[in-house]
Symmetry: C2
Subunit: 461 residues, 2 copies
């Protein structure tokens, strides 16, 4: 009964002797926070319900006031994620996402390798505005992949099976990489920004996108040929995917007014986000205006917003975690923890120490079934240790942030998009894990090697 387990762990921490330097409220909040994280990982209830119970626990125990306990619900990054969920719904409902994927298949899908690139490119186009890789890889790319797998790539020959495995892993690893490239490409990224802000490390939408651009682009370019060699071993099926895509586009008909409005709003919003550092327009404000534009033009129906179960679920857990992280910081627990860690890591150089931290952080993802659970459990203490080591703050926050996405390559359950793509049945389990491990080495090499040079140029260290 993992619900009782979570509660017992919370009670145990509550009853542990509290160090004198720690505020009693901070200690109690820590107990509730840890119990909530255990609940999020063990999932006796859906994550939103666990978070809701966590809020109730802070109130029932008098640990936080009502205003404090509800404070996460006005948080800017939380509403950025909400707005992005609603925009994603617009991309999918108007059919624009699918159209983009099919157009890219007609352009680059002549060869099997090119097809892998078209999936990666589609995901990259959608990534800045769709904060759920489930929505991108599961909602947009997977249907296109399955439609090709059922038609031009059907059959039980070794070539057909290897081609489908290659395409599945291409789509999956592309979405893992694009997730790492934008604050708004994965739901836990704004949480990372919030946690970092709580430790006085400021990361804007633009900082993140610029720092990720070069290693991200290299990863996206390197991955398809790598996967091609590893899975298809050159023995691929020759299929006229562009022709199948053209047929699908004919079925979609000419671009609808709603798709044109959606595309315009998306381009303007992306521009506003990129220009945000100089214009001072908050990315959340820009995103809320974009959603309002979709509502006013009728491209997005209100029912799709009010009835977006996944968005409101995210709203509750995200706001709860942001709120708890904020008060653990404000009540001094993070500062106290950092003080405890400093003497322990005193002799270690920051480069060595930080490299070790990143590797531990990365490979513990084998034990997590969700990026969010992993980030909410481990990001804050790992960042605190990295800062105690003397790692340059923005570098530390970003590299742990990028790792928080790239680690999803490891397993077929590492993020919600994985089981969806795995469910296609095109990739044997052993292959998925073996290639996931190899991909993780390559990603680390690219992001640490080329990334380090790029970040030096940017002055991050």
């Amino acid at each position: 009964m993992p619900l009782w387990l979570a509660a017992c762990i919370g009670v145990a921490i509550w009853l542990l002797p509290r160090p004198d330097a720690v505020d009693p409220r901070a200690w109690r909040l820590l107990a509730i926070f840890v119990a909530t994280i255990v609940g999020i990982i063990a999932k006796p209830l859906p994550i939103g319900a666990v978070a809701f119970v966590g809020i109730a626990a802070t109130l029932a125990t008098g640990t936080l006031t009502l205003a404090e306990a509800l404070s996460g619900f006005t948080n800017g990054p939380v509403w950025l994620v909400m707005a992005a969920f609603f925009l994603a719904s617009g991309f999918i409902r108007t059919g624009l996402g699918e159209r983009i994927a099919y157009i890219l298949v007609t352009l680059f899908g002549r060869s099997t390798l090119g097809l892998g690139y078209s999936f990666a490119a589609s995901d990259l186009v959608l990534a800045p505005m769709i904060p759920s890789n489930t929505a991108r890889a599961g909602g947009v790319i997977f249907p296109v992949l399955q439609s090709l797998a059922r038609t031009v790539l059907a059959g039980e020959s070794a070539e057909a099976r290897r081609t489908r495995a290659f395409l599945t892993l291409s789509a999956y690893n592309a979405t893992v990489i694009t997730s790492a490239m934008f604050v708004t490409a994965m739901v836990a990224n704004p949480l990372i920004v919030q946690i970092a802000a709580g430790q006085d490390v400021a990361i804007t939408w633009t900082t993140w996108a610029v720092a990720a651009a070069v290693p991200g682009a290299v990863s996206l370019l390197v991955m398809p040929p790598l996967l091609y060699v590893l899975t298809a071993r050159r023995a691929v099926m020759r299929a006229d995917a562009p022709d199948a895509a053209r047929a699908a586009l004919r079925r979609l008909g000419p671009m609808k007014r709603s798709e044109r409005v959606m595309a315009t709003v998306a381009v303007v919003l992306l521009g506003a986000w990129i220009a945000g550092s100089s214009t001072g327009l908050d990315p959340t404000a820009a995103a809320l205006m974009a959603v309002a534009a979709l509502l006013v033009t009728g491209v997005l129906g209100w029912d799709a917003v009010a009835g977006d179960r996944e968005a409101w679920n995210t709203f509750v857990w995200f706001a709860t975690l942001v709120m708890m992280a904020t008060y653990l910081g404000e009540l001094g627990l993070i500062a106290w923890f950092t003080e405890q860690v400093k003497p322990l890591v005193g002799g270690v150089g920051w480069l060595t120490g930080f490299a070790g931290l990143v590797l531990v952080y990365f490979y513990t993802h084998y034990f997590f079934a969700s990026m969010t659970a992993h980030v909410s459990a481990m990001y804050a203490p790992f960042l605190a240790v990295a800062l105690a080591l003397g790692t340059p703050p923005v570098l530390a926050a970003l590299v742990l942030g990028f790792s928080s996405n790239l680690f999803a390559s490891l397993t077929h359950y590492g993020t919600a998009a994985a089981p969806i793509l795995f469910s296609g049945g095109h990739v044997p389990l052993g292959t998925w894990w073996r290639i996931g491990l190899i991909v993780s080495f390559v990603n680390i090499a690219i992001w640490v090697g080329i990334g380090a040079v790029w970040w030096r140029l940017l002055g991050l260290w």
Copy 2:
């Protein structure tokens, strides 16, 4: 195209010469607020969408900061309504609401008049915890009514038709009265509490319930016989409703664990609300704990919470209106308006003036299709004028608050429960309006006459 109409009205106010004493931000917010209210009344888009666009407008025009624009989402009363929505979902999904109605029919439903009382009693039991009369009268009572109408009360005789008309109007007017009796019985009541707080009038859950208890009880007792005389004219159908209800209860089977948990949580929560004034436990905190209890015990599924379209719709518009009302107050617009009104009403005694205000406020409901639209458009200025007249503050806020519910008796579209009950086809349109008007006289007589004595005893004036 009412969307453009709303925008044009907003732009017109924006461009009007601003009185020197008014803060420029207050004036711009007034323009956006009025446009939002016009949108809520004219409904070019669902109310939540209009509110969302209103938030975006405050951001796009730089009238409010992001933190200000989102501030409504942590508001206590907003979350009280959300919690109550989730509790209501528990009442309905567990079948407890229906069971209560059937049990009351077996107890009091022997005569037709008694049946009218059983509906009123069922609604009263549910009212403190279900903030939507649509959910109570439409979701719980109406199905029971229809089930009786199709079986023991079927037929086209004048007696059968009159009996059904009597029962429909009993159910409707009962829910109108119970709405007026608790802050948590109607969604706009917490909005009223918020607006009043913005004008420095503090009303707690208990203040409202105690002040409404005596006139509410008298209204509930008087209404069934009144409606009986007016609609059934004593010529009613004799039917064994208790027997039909017993059959329905047999179909429901013995009380389930989920119903017992729901009932326990409801009783404890009601106790916590009633004791709130002395224990200091915030009603919102208590309600959130109650929802958490339902989640932990599995009585309420998380899907029912995250997927509660109506709750999240309410969340967005309610938070928006609270936010706008708060900043209209904080930026000094309400104070300025009161200053303007004071000299105009200088010669009028508060009793006369306030009576006139209440009557205008009450009967303008003919022009509104929603209590919320009416409250958000008119409550704040009417309260300000009442206070300028010198009306005792809590009395003014409560009487306008009670009126904000009782005025729904007038039409078959006055609140969302009305069209649902009207759709049963048991009451001719002319009858509904004629009796609605008579009921309004009787309610005003009871609430002003007996109410005045009771509120004097309570020291409210």
